[in-house]
């Protein structure tokens, strides 16, 4: 009887232990479809080996759809996602709303102080780190060294807008279907307005003054838009008002752009296997106008834990794995240093192997030259280089983007576009209670 009882107790204990051993927590990670994220999904064997008790399920969506779904879920406290991929625009807004879990308790080995200060600053609200950067980017000039050489010109490492205009003029060859410059023209707060807002900073323009009064009626914005339209109309591709990142990437890779000013992550594409000009590309900082600010932006795709997640501890373990130094080393060992997610850690840029990557130095210099807390020449009441970190900006940015895109398409003049932008933004800011 005693033997039987012992056997039964032993069996029960074993079953209980087996139950504990197989207890598995599933976390849902919402992400965008880009090269770095896809690469991470391919390296999940490493995470699974280290954390067999955490199962990761992926939801990969187009950027705008992801933003819509995640916003809906977080705003309603849905708890569908345990890790979300968010941009630098959302982090300060969502952090203030209490929608994100603080990441201040990441382990010491994570080495938060190693994160690039400009990137970390954009992800921190009131001393709380609300997201861990997966990759960071700025913008810079990518240009055709061969065309510049043929034109007898040299691109400075830190060009002015006048240098850019002169180079665009020299490289434009309509007969050979080569446009001197390709820039974003497609409407959207993350499309043409990302470029134009960053560009306007170098002309001394700003979206709002210290009292939140819109500034599109000021001479700095007129100078920005006039210069942009002149540059694109004279040296840009046909139908530029429909061109975003991917369209310009296609044109540049096919050898149809002398220059392209866009995200630093494009560097790996224009020097990659799909580019017909891979060995002819040079890099320079985004241009300035001698006013102390360059026309480059600052962005990071980061991983955060929604406050509504019911697996916060496991979500943080995943974020730690995906954004720590070991992950960078893992990518380097499997895919090479050129494919390591850029723009997040200081230590990466002191690595001798990484320094050999052709665009590494220009990327870090570009990131370091952007300051989200003081984006333009004059003081502003907002944070953000190519955006204004207020909830209303998505709508405002897209509306103004549509107006400026129409100006590029030729359906209105620069003056008409600026007057319309001023009126629209003023109305919206009044309705939102920022101004009387």
């Amino acid at each position: 009887m005693t033997k039987t009882l012992r056997a039964l107790m032993g069996a029960t204990a074993l079953v209980a232990l087996a139950g504990v051993a197989s207890a598995e927590t599933t976390i849902t990670v919402a992400t965008v479809n880009n090269g770095d994220m896809v690469r991470m999904q391919g390296l999940m064997d490493d995470f699974n080996a280290k954390h067999p008790d955490i199962k990761v399920e992926w939801v990969t969506l187009e950027e705008n759809v992801l933003r819509q779904n995640v916003t809906t879920d977080i705003a309603t406290g849905g708890g569908q996602y345990d890790v979300i991929t968010i941009g630098t625009y959302e982090v300060p807004i969502w952090g203030k709303q209490g929608w994100l879990e603080s990441l201040n308790d990441l382990p010491a080995e994570y080495d938060v102080d190693d994160l690039l200060p400009a990137i970390r600053g954009g992800l921190t609200v009131d001393g709380n780190l609300f997201a861990a950067p997966f990759y960071g980017e700025s913008s810079m000039v990518m240009y055709r060294k061969d065309l510049m050489e043929a034109a007898g010109m040299t691109m400075p490492d830190a060009p002015t807008w006048a240098d850019i205009e002169a180079a665009a003029k020299a490289m434009t060859n309509r007969d050979a279907d080569i446009n001197g410059i390709c820039l974003r023209g497609k409407a959207g707060w993350g499309e043409n307005m990302a470029f134009l807002t960053a560009m306007s900073n170098s002309f001394g323009a700003r979206w709002f003054d210290e009292a939140w009064v819109p500034q599109f009626d000021q001479p700095e914005w007129k100078a920005t838009l006039d210069f942009y339209l002149n540059l694109m109309n004279n040296y840009g591709p046909a139908g530029a008002s429909n061109n975003g990142f991917n369209e310009n990437l296609t044109l540049f890779n096919q050898g149809k752009c002398g220059m392209w000013i866009d995200a630093t992550v494009a560097a790996s594409f224009v020097t990659g296997k799909d580019s017909t000009v891979a060995d002819k590309v040079g890099f320079a900082l985004a241009p300035d106008n001698g006013l102390g600010k360059r026309g480059n932006w600052l962005w990071a795709w980061s991983l955060a834990v929604p406050a509504s997640s019911d697996a916060k501890a496991e979500a943080k373990i995943f974020i730690d794995w995906a954004t720590n130094k070991d992950y960078l080393a893992l990518v380097a060992s499997k895919e090479g240093w050129a494919n390591v997610p850029p723009g997040t850690r200081t230590s990466l840029y002191s690595n001798e192997e990484y320094a050999k990557v052709p665009f590494a130095k220009m990327t870090i210099d570009s990131i370091n030259s952007a300051d989200p807390t003081a984006p333009t020449v004059k003081p502003v009441p907002y944070v953000g280089v190519q955006f204004v970190a207020i909830p209303e900006f998505q709508g405002l940015g897209t509306t103004v983007g549509e107006i400026f895109s129409a100006a590029l398409a030729g359906s209105k003049t620069a003056d008409e576009a600026l007057a319309e932008a001023q009126a629209v933004v003023t109305d919206e800011m009044k309705a939102a209670g920022y101004i009387q």
Binding site: V59, F245, N253, V265, F269
Partner: protein, 276 residues
Amino acid sequence: MARALSPRRLWLTTAAAWFVALLIFFPVLWMILTSFKTEPSAVAMPPQFLSADWTLENYAEVWARSDYPRFFWNSVVISVGSTLLGLLIAIPAAWAMAFVPGKKTKDLLMWMLSTKMMPAVAVMIPLYLLFQRMGLIDTKIGLVVALMLMNLPIIIWMLYTYFKEIPGEILEASRMDGATLWGEIIYVLTPMALPGIASTMLLNIILAWNEAFWTIVLTTTKAAPLSAFIASFSAPQGLFYAKLSAASAMAILPILILGWFSQKQLVRGLTFGAVK
């Protein structure tokens, strides 16, 4: 009496029909061709056809990167489930509207149709909250209910139109022979309206299969159908058109096959009552 067409007129009509058919089919054809190109070939300007680099790599990568069978199965369950549930509700409703109409029946039909004119995003937050409270987010049953509700006005309208073609006297005769209400609907009305019901069913399956707003908003991983599968291959930065085309081709292929094999039924149903 039908008038005979002259050979010249027949040739012109045939050519025009082929032209329109090719025009409609061209986007699908181009998508399928793009799915077999390399990424640089897919975006080349001018567009490449004979000179394109052809590859099967896109399909291999799409298959390797996602759990296609799961997305496929979810699509099948959601589209067939919502259709059957919709028919279950719509057949009695359409019967009542066709054979025992009230004063407000026409208004009711118009109101139902008007709900289809409302932009889906207008009810996104209320419906999301409702589903969340009921624990229906990312469940197949939740999507079956949601898509059934979305398509119910169309199902009722179609069935109403078919039922109106059936003489009420036949139903009356069955009642006089002692048929109950359900017996009348199941054994008399349904067999007579079978072509219409079949085409309604097929059309609704196609609509549910292709629905891409609610299926993406209301799912994450467990119940996500092929529309979510396609959405996962769009990218803001980088070339993706060939892979996206491969994913789209894999998503529409099953419904294309269904449409091909049931085209006779579909056409028969859709033209039911058109010629008297």
